[in-house]
Symmetry: C2
Subunit: 347 residues, 2 copies
């Protein structure tokens, strides 16, 4: 036995094997068993680094974007990265101490060294709010919903709001915020189970299964005989084209993610943009990262709504790092019901 070997523990990792085209497959990733010494390496000391134990990892469609070969990609083959909730084990950083719970960018592995600590958030323990919610309701997807709805959609009470991928990590909060704002809200989703969730649990006025609609334009005309004021688009493609035919004058379209398109190297054409002119519609792409100054307000508002029981949040929790590749791939087939999270370790 090599000296020091006895201090190491197992550190399972999800390795991204190489750049891809199309939808990610489980075989694009592999599990690797490595070992790690549970202390900050000598060379990390004085660098404000942390050693953390990862508790929850977030599966998000944007991760697909970095799987292409371009500037900003993962360096393949390498450990996948994404948002996670972690517990600090060792800290060389005065802002964090052992035992703190944090959320931020981490590795898809059991233990991670985090060198870039400026965007980590310390989580204030709150027994009413599950830790994993910091990846969803109170994390990037929730903030995307908040910034997108209030800052991009310019909503008014009584307006007609349509949300696609409405039971997803972002959509479910958009719809509930819109209801709290006094809007009429319809969501689309890809299964009966999701449609039931939208209508019976999440308070949408109406919801429909887009897979059962032969004509999306006709479906939207059925649910919005008066037309749509706000379309919060999470999917792009055919649904966007159909929504364009149903916008009201001075409507707004917030473009968020286009999950139906972001695995396609030759994305589908959108044919109905002319309606943006005749109806004087504003269509705006956005990223939550442009609105970080609103994060504290978001956290306060949405936590408060949640604690008051005014909003719900549905998670799809997979157990164990082994399940992570399949869960990530499942996003692109709509297998998740609610926000997809991986539990790596129990708190």
């Amino acid at each position: 036995m090599i000296a020091g070997e006895e201090e190491k523990v197992e550190n399972k990792q999800v390795i991204f094997k190489g750049y891809i085209d199309g939808v990610p497959k489980e075989t694009d990733m592999e599990l690797k068993l490595t070992k790690i010494e549970l202390k900050l390496p000598t060379q990390a000391q004085g660098t404000s680094a942390l050693l953390v134990k990862n508790l929850y990892l977030s599966c998000d469609p944007y991760m697909r974007g970095r799987m292409r070969d371009f500037h900003g990609s993962y360096i393949a083959p390498f450990v996948l990265e994404g948002f996670g909730v972690s517990k600090v084990i060792f800290s060389d950083n005065p802002n964090f101490k052992a035992g703190d719970f944090i959320s931020g960018f981490t590795g898809w592995e059991e233990y991670s060294f985090i060198h870039k600590t400026d965007q980590l958030r310390k989580i204030q323990p709150d027994h009413q709010i599950p830790l994993s919610f910091h990846l969803g309701l109170l994390g990037m997807p929730g903030f995307t919903a908040y910034a997108g709805f209030y800052e991009v959609c310019s909503p008014s009470k009584g307006e007609y709001v349509f949300v696609s991928a409405a039971s997803g990590a972002v959509g479910q909060l958009v719809g509930q915020l819109a209801k709290l704002h006094g809007c009429y809200v319809v969501g689309s989703a890809g299964s009966k189970e999701k449609v039931d969730l939208l209508k019976n649990k999440l308070g949408f006025d109406e919801a429909f299964n887009y897979k059962e609609e032969l004509d999306l334009d006709a479906a939207l005309k059925r649910y919005f005989p008066q037309g749509i004021d706000i379309y919060f688009d999470n999917v792009g493609g055919d649904m966007l084209d159909a929504a364009l035919l149903n916008m009201r004058i001075h409507g707004r379209i917030a473009l968020c993610g286009m999950v139906s398109q972001n695995s396609l190297s030759n994305p589908q054409g959108i044919h109905n943009l002319y309606n943006l002119i005749t109806k004087r519609v504003r269509m705006q792409g956005f990223l939550q990262s442009d609105y970080l100054h609103l994060y504290p307000r978001f956290l306060e508002h949405v936590s408060s709504y949640y604690k008051q029981g005014k909003i719900f949040y549905v998670e799809d929790m997979n157990e164990g790092l082994e399940s992570a590749p399949a869960a990530l791939v499942g996003l692109f087939y709509g297998k998740n019901v609610g926000k997809q999270v991986i539990r790596v370790a129990h708190e």
Copy 2:
């Protein structure tokens, strides 16, 4: 001879024969010789109607839109309608008197009765400004440029501005306003003559002939190595798709008309909308009619710029109502150089 017949004069008209698909053809219209009595008919008295002599008629791409069979169409077969500059001959309206020059909606004919007078504008005679400019620089197209540039594009000094159909009725003013605002401005047009006009007369920093470019994306990268902050789109289609690939972060796209697409019942797909998200771009369709409260300010600003020689305006003037159908059709093939106007009668 019927009694009263001797008081009638000839009134040539352009008749729109019936609803169309695709690009309008000259044969979709016909000239008709009618006669008109040059006084307000008895039944028009007390209705605030005017009898006017039409001096100039405006050929505008939006006219194509009403040639389809839908609510808001022309009632076919009927006299075409459009913006014109006219001289009042008889007035039953206290706001207008014989001899006044007006601009507004009129018929494609020599003499018209105008019953809807609330949107007519009285032209203040100004020997420095040709009357026909009230159809272009100081009319709907000029105001489209003004409202679109200042209200939709949110321009800042030093930004990179691209204008398509840049020598057209709208584009030529957009580019000049952008230059006066301190922007870097490049225009595209469809002939060497137009490109020369943009560079040598209208003060664009650069201009190119899109028909000579095999790869519009490469052309835009050549003229905008730093990317585009503002794209004022007058054409849609391939140029819009190429511009989407070259937008800078937080760029703006104003959609105005889409002349390349508005004759197509199955418009071309736009494939690169995903860039709206990654670059957080706002794309907005607009119509000048939403901004009419700014019209007086526009008139003052742009007249003043013109009189000071700070802006130019290029008209393509056809002589005689007989030339009107071909001139209207020519718009859709880019035959006009500058704003297309028909002179029906000399002042």
